[in-house]
């Protein structure tokens, strides 16, 4: 075969189109749906302590999601996004990282944050936008962030964190920190221009970044296959950008854990960015503002319920005799009580003081913002009954 030396290409003499289906990327599965290890698969090393911590986090997140959806229905919080059905993807990947690796999430990675040690009180403070919220009550519920736990604050605009992850990882590489950045997003967000820019730059600069796509089947009402993308999902895009890529069963804790462990090694030791596509399913609606019965069937949901990542991992734990059904139930009940207690307590905490409204726009509030604040406070003093959450504390000095 002849060679095109400049581009190092093999030359053919007959027209030959490569079909998109020529590259069909397989899916790694280690833990079968019945909680046993798949024949031929190797179970990743995992001690009892870590396995139970993962399961504990899974249970906590499931309760948090269920309770907060209910709290939204009761009008106690304005909005919620659940990660129901995707717990293995976020928790399994976070468990394979070092605590000082950076996490950049989209908005369904509460599991990763909980695994890092974000407390139930901290979750509640954000959800209720009270004065203890680390984000000072400025964003909608579920937009968590915590510098201490290396979890970048969530932004609502989709995919903006993906090129940021490339940049953050470049800094880590230049600092020789020995760390990487993991960036989560859905398959819908992978349509955004930001995704393409991010992967291209990460591959070109060889940064220690792990791009974790939770392919959960739907972007609000739009099904992935056929309406979000044609072809074989997100994984082939990683290959196209010149990046190491793997597709895993996103409901399989071990597949996610193992793939992320290897990805981290590639990222940190060889500065190879990696794309992981976790195939999963968004069991609940997109958010509490959404009703999935309008665009998908009960049968479809039920088929996925059988693949439940939490049940699957619990079965494996029971097979190891590391937990019994009773212990799991007891743990669940304790967690539920803790969530309810934290919820009750957080909703009585006041909103941030009105002075906070002009803080953090810049490092220090410029003159024009101070003037605007004074005018606002004068107005609130005049109509205290119209602004009940702030009026009573405006001159109280309890900031």
């Amino acid at each position: 075969m002849a060679k095109d030396k400049q581009h190092q290409l093999d030359i053919v003499t007959k027209p030959q189109f490569i079909d998109g289906s020529a590259l069909k990327i397989p899916m790694l599965q280690i833990l079968a749906e019945d909680g046993t290890i798949r024949k031929g698969a190797e179970q990743p090393e995992m001690d009892k302590e870590l396995a139970l911590k993962i399961f504990d986090t899974m249970q906590f997140i499931r309760i948090l999601d269920e309770r907060m959806i209910a709290a939204q229905r009761q009008g106690r919080i304005s909005f919620y996004l659940s990660s129901l059905g995707e717990e293995a993807a976020s928790i399994g990947s976070a468990a394979a990282l070092s605590d000082d690796d950076m996490i950049m999430g989209q908005y369904r990675e509460q599991g990763a944050l909980a695994f890092r040690g974000f407390t139930v009180e901290q979750f509640m403070n954000q959800l209720f936008s009270n004065e203890r919220d680390l984000g000072k009550g400025r964003q909608m519920p579920v937009h968590y962030g915590c510098a201490e736990l290396n979890f970048m604050t969530i932004a609502s605009p989709l995919a903006t964190q993906i090129p940021q992850a490339t940049g953050y990882a470049y800094g880590q590489k230049m600092d020789k920190s020995g760390n990487c950045t993991i960036c989560y997003f859905g398959e819908g967000a992978a349509s955004e221009g930001d995704f393409h820019a991010a992967l291209n730059m990460a591959a070109v600069y060889k940064v220690p970044a792990i791009f974790f796509c939770r392919n959960n089947g739907y972007a609000i009402s739009t099904p992935s296959q056929g309406e979000q993308y044609a072809g074989d999902g997100i994984a082939p895009r990683g290959v196209a950008y010149g990046m190491k890529t793997i597709r895993v069963d996103g409901n399989d804790l071990f597949a996610v854990y193992k793939a992320t462990q290897l990805a981290r090694q590639l990222a940190v030791e060889e500065n190879e960015p990696v794309l992981i596509e976790g195939m999963s399913y968004r069991m609940a609606g997109h958010s509490t503002s959404d009703d999935p019965t309008g665009y998908r069937t009960r049968e479809e949901e039920d088929a996925w319920r059988a693949k439940d990542p939490v049940v699957r991992f619990q079965k494996w734990l029971q097979n190891q005799a590391w937990i019994s059904e009773d212990e799991a139930q007891k743990n669940y009940d304790e967690k539920k009580a803790a969530v309810l207690a934290a919820l009750k307590s957080a909703e009585t905490v006041p909103v941030p003081h009105i002075d906070e409204i002009i803080e953090d726009v810049y490092d220090t509030p410029p003159k024009h913002l101070k003037k605007q604040l004074e005018a606002l406070k004068a107005h609130i003093r005049k109509y205290p009954e119209a602004y009940p959450k702030t009026a009573s504390r405006i001159d109280g000095g309890d900031k």
Partner: protein, 325 residues
């Protein structure tokens, strides 16, 4: 006449436009069979098929680039951006392409058939990524038309004008009023002139100017002021670009006073543009400085939304301050 809310009026306008011309296409994230997250495009797929009302992948710059291409081909492209806050990835396509298509090509090509629909504004506990009013960014761009209706009747007539207007139109829908604003709307086709302000209430003492969802605040404030014996003239600007200088100037020449209210932050907002122009047009008639009642120069906060929001009380105070200047 039928009772419709603002969403139904928009849906009805889209329905009429799509029936009128098979070159009208409606698309955006979730706008297909599901009918959009607010249901503005409900029923259109059933009626006109999934090739005329459809879901797009989640990529705003792609939606607007696609829409520019489709409109340049001679179709009527009605593209929805799910929230005004998320229009910025499409900024380049709108500002550098939609707005300048005709000018840069010497009218060899144009995207006159383009309409961009997007919900804007706060007061819905949406935090800063679901509450912004980005009209001023686009008002700085020659070549676009920008329209912001205040109620269902206006929304239907203006949207029908926008779709068949020979220029690209940014149609910003006040989402706080989507279901809250209900009114009588003719079922048949009608159009309202773009670029024409609407005098909502005549008065002689002071002019209060607003657009979109803020008109409600202006009207409420005017009612409060009436109890103090202040007779407000309330004007809905309707179109931000081009805007009706004549109607506003004529009113200010009569009243000698002007209060402008907008939801967006004050600095660089469209209220500033109006103030500068009216000062130029009406300098010798002014009895008090032109007042702007606007959002603070901060991002839109969630927990302090009530305090941040430009409500009727703030507009009322500005009216009184102008009167007693």
């Amino acid at each position: 006449m039928a009772k419709m809310n603002l969403l139904q009026a928009i849906n009805n306008a889209l329905d009429i436009a799509m029936a009128k011309s098979d070159k009208v296409y409606s698309f955006g994230e979730d706008t297909g069979a599901f009918g959009g997250v607010f249901r503005a495009t409900s029923g259109l797929t059933e009626k006109y098929g999934r090739h005329r009302n459809f879901n797009t992948p989640l990529v705003e710059q792609g939606i607007l680039g696609f829409a520019n291409g489709l409109a340049s081909q001679g179709s009527y492209a009605v593209a929805e951006i799910q929230f005004g806050d998320y229009i910025f990835p499409a900024f380049d396509q709108i500002v550098n392409e939609s707005a300048k298509f005709r000018y840069r090509s010497g009218d060899e090509f144009n995207v006159g058939g383009l309409t961009i629909r997007t919900p804007y504004g706060g007061g819905i506990a949406g935090g800063h990524y679901h509450s912004q009013s980005p009209e001023a960014y686009f008002a700085h761009t020659p070549g676009l038309k920008i329209v912001m209706p205040r109620n269902p009747y206006m929304a239907k007539g203006l949207l029908l004008s926008a779709i068949f207007d020979k220029n690209p139109v940014l149609f910003m829908e006040p989402k706080r009023l989507y279901r809250a604003s209900v009114g009588e709307v003719p079922e048949e086709e009608y159009t309202l002139e773009l670029g024409k302000a609407d005098v909502v209430k005549e008065g002689k003492d002071i002019t209060v100017l607003a657009w979109g969802a803020q008109v409600e605040m202006a009207e409420k404030a005017a009612e409060m002021a009436a109890k103090d014996g202040i007779d407000c003239e309330v004007i809905d600007l309707v179109s931000i670009l081009p805007w009706d200088v004549e109607t506003v100037a004529e009113s200010v020449r009569k009243t000698g006073r002007l209060v402008i209210t907008q939801e967006a932050p004050i600095t660089g907002g469209f209220a500033s543009e109006v103030a500068a122009t009216i000062q130029d047009e009406c300098f010798l008639y002014l009895e008090s400085p032109i007042a702007r009642v606007c959002g603070l120069d901060t991002p839109y906060p969630l927990s302090h939304e009530k305090e941040y929001f430009v409500d009727h009380l703030k507009v009322y105070e500005a009216i009184k301050a102008s009167m007693t200047y």
